[in-house]
Amino acid sequence: MTAGFLGALTGLGGGVVIVPLLTLVFGVDIRYAIGASLVSVIATSCGAAAAYVKEGFSNIRLGMFLEMATTFGAVFGAALAARISTHSIAVIFGFVLVYSAFLSTRHRASAAVTTEDTRHFLPDSLRLDAAYPGSAGPVSYHVHHIPTGFSLMFLAGGLSGLLGIGSGAVKVLAMDRAMQVPFKVSTTTSNFMIGVTAAASASVYLNRGYIDPGLSMPVMLGVVLGSLSGSWILMASGTRTLRIVFAVVILILGFEMIYNGITGRL
């Protein structure tokens, strides 16, 4: 059983896959599954961040500022998870899966770099604008629509706490689309935030007794092995076919979660 876990997780990885896998295939209670998933999300985020921070892409100020929204959201989501039924959690999880399957098939429209400098009321005192290393020296950028981004981050944190996922997709969406932060900056900064957000949720789960050592151990070790062996990078930068297969799998898992949640099997 442990070997099966290890093999499967190194190949797939990601909180989005771990929870449905544990609940649908292995029949684990969804609360235990979310606890184990959060642990693996932290491991992945920290492992990847160690490589990212040195490149200087992530914007620590922006990350920390938005972290106020995500950690509060995470604690709120984790508190909510204890109050609503596991069926409802399964159904919400299913909808998030279906939505992310939909997102991942769409070609990422490279965010148009807006050069005009407008809207200057909040960012100035917060000094969120920064620069990242480009091929021809530092490229500076401007952060837009801070209230929208901040609210989306609260939602991302809430989903993370409720479902045990990194909700990196929502975070990148908030930074990339709403706040118009350059793509590389938004992915690395969101990775940094995922770890901190998951730590906030995982703490609440730990105190509730939702994190089981026997279950989390193979999941965590599998994820760490997977990220070390580099199958993660393969997954993230995978080919178009791989991405479509992944989206279909997520879509099926999503419908499965919704069905099982409604019929009360989860």
Binding site: V28, V39, A43, A50, A199, L206
Partner: protein, 128 residues
């Protein structure tokens, strides 16, 4: 002048943070691995039941309880201590960011980071 000074320390801080995160993941994985070995050696043949939700005993929930349990060489306790260290790694990172903003005398962000740190410690201490 101020910018130049802070950009130098920024690079150094990034270096330290990177090493901190990597060390956190590696050390906690090793602890979990050791605990997992002990756990499987003792209970490997039993078939665990995670379908029915019991919740963990209180010794595996609270920070002090986990440390106490781990010091008795219980496999589950050691795994849980490793998981605790993993959860604490991003918290340590945030704490370290407080220090770096203090060095840079960035009052706004000392405040912002302290709020984040407070939420994290609050939930780790069981207030959430």
């Amino acid at each position: 002048m101020r910018d130049r000074k802070s950009s130098i320390s920024d690079a150094e801080i990034d270096e330290i943070i990177g090493n901190l995160l990597r060390a956190g993941v590696i050390v906690s994985s090793l602890i979990v691995l050791v605990g997992g070995g002990l756990y499987l050696a003792r209970h490997g043949t039993e078939s665990p039941n995670y379908h029915i939700f019991w919740g963990e005993p209180s010794d595996l929930r609270k920070v002090l309880g986990i440390l106490k349990f781990a010091s008795s060489y219980s496999g589950r306790g050691i795994i849980q201590a490793g998981l605790l260290l993993l959860i604490a790694t991003p918290v340590m990172r945030v704490a370290f960011t407080v220090i770096s903003f203090t060095i840079q005398r960035d009052k706004v962000y000392i405040g912002v980071t302290l709020i984040v740190l407070a939420v994290l410690i609050f939930s780790l201490a069981g207030g959430g």
